[in-house]
């Protein structure tokens, strides 16, 4: 049962990633693209978690953890760049 | 899967090289970054690909991926990070000094000595 759920989960995340890519390519504004990337990072976290369940290992969770932290930071950095130009002011 | 990896490495290399050949420091640095991804993944792949066999010793493990290329790539990532950082700083300083971020030196600059002060 979990296997089927996982298959659906992977499908969902992949579909989401493709949609994110579409937004990334399409834009139109820079912030749209930043938002698309941010969403991609969150989706990547989902992907890693599902992969961990599938492979029955917790070894990959740190990666998800760091992604959660650093995805936030890079998105904020892009926004700060747009807002102020200077990321660390 | 091997094809996906090999072609990804190729695509990253191509994109990196193309940006590397641009005329401004900024795309060149991005090109180098892409090239670094490609090379790191290439080096990593030299240990051959394996799925879910992380080189962490445990009783349940079915096998292990080749840990050596991973260690090498880790070193390479760190080193290229340092290199990229220096390149960025130097590109910035060069731009601040000369008001141009073009990568080419003009003829006159080729022999021009820097200020001593």
């Amino acid at each position: 049962m979990i296997g089927y759920a996982l298959t659906f989960g992977f499908f969902a995340v992949c579909l989401a990633l493709m949609l994110n890519l579409w937004r990334l390519v399409q834009g139109p504004t820079l912030m749209d693209r930043v938002l698309a990337v941010d969403t991609m990072m969150i989706n990547a976290i989902a992907l890693i978690i599902l992969y961990g369940i599938q492979q029955q290992t917790t070894l990959y969770f740190e990666a998800a953890l760091l992604l959660a932290m650093f995805g936030f930071i890079s998105t904020v950095a892009y926004c700060r760049f747009v807002l102020r130009g200077d990321v660390i002011e | 899967m091997e094809f996906i990896v090999a072609s990804s490495v190729g695509v990253l290399t191509a994109a990196g090289v193309y940006l590397l050949l641009r005329a401004r420091t900024y795309p060149v640095i991005l090109g180098l970054t892409l090239l670094t991804y490609a090379v790191n993944f290439f080096l990593f792949a030299m240990g051959r690909l394996s799925v879910n066999l992380p080189p962490v010793i445990s009783d349940e493990a079915l096998g292990y991926a080749d840990p050596l290329p991973q260690a090498l790539v880790l070193t390479a990532i760190v080193i290229s990070f340092g290199m990229t950082a220096v390149a960025v700083a130097m590109a910035l300083r060069a731009y601040l000094e000369s008001d141009s971020d073009h990568v080419d030196l003009s003829r006159s600059e080729g022999s021009e000595k820097a200020d001593h002060s």
């Binding site: 989960g9 937004r23 912030m31 369940i53 917790t58 959660a68 904020v76 700060r80 747009v82 | -």
Partner: protein, 136 residues
């Protein structure tokens, strides 16, 4: 593993997957950035949250231990998602100064912080509006 646990886990994964899809569909479908911002902020985050809880239950189920990582990831996500959204909105407002008249008044003597400088000395901050004068 108990059936009910498997069921819950599967449900969480499926529901989470649905929300993940919804978030990204919204990102594609909604007409402007501010509307699109709602989708990932809520739906995708919740979707990942579902997967995380599923994972936590799963490893609790097979190893009998609570894996803290998922909690930590969830905490980070729920802590950062509003901040990210806030920043994206601010950057959007900043990049679209034409939106300024459309915004409701603050109801305070000062404008919105993206456009207007904080009051002098509010936090020892001596910024003035002129310096941030807009070129366009």
């Amino acid at each position: 593993m108990a059936f009910w646990l498997e069921l819950v886990i599967s449900l969480l994964i499926v529901v989470g997957g649905c929300f993940v899809i919804v978030g990204s569909v919204g990102l594609v479908k909604l007409p402007d950035l501010m509307s699109r911002l709602h989708a990932p902020t809520k739906a995708t985050t919740l979707g990942v949250g579902g997967a995380l809880v599923a994972s936590m239950l799963y490893f609790w189920g097979i190893e009998g231990k609570v894996s803290i990582h998922e909690v930590l990831i969830t905490a980070f996500l729920f802590l950062t998602a509003p901040v990210t959204a806030h920043f994206v909105a601010k950057a959007y407002l900043h990049q679209h100064p034409e939106k300024k008249p459309e915004l409701p008044p603050t109801g305070r003597p000062y404008g919105w912080s993206t456009y207007d400088a904080p009051p002098d000395g509010a936090a020892g901050q001596a910024a003035n509006g002129e310096e941030a004068e807009r070129k366009d």
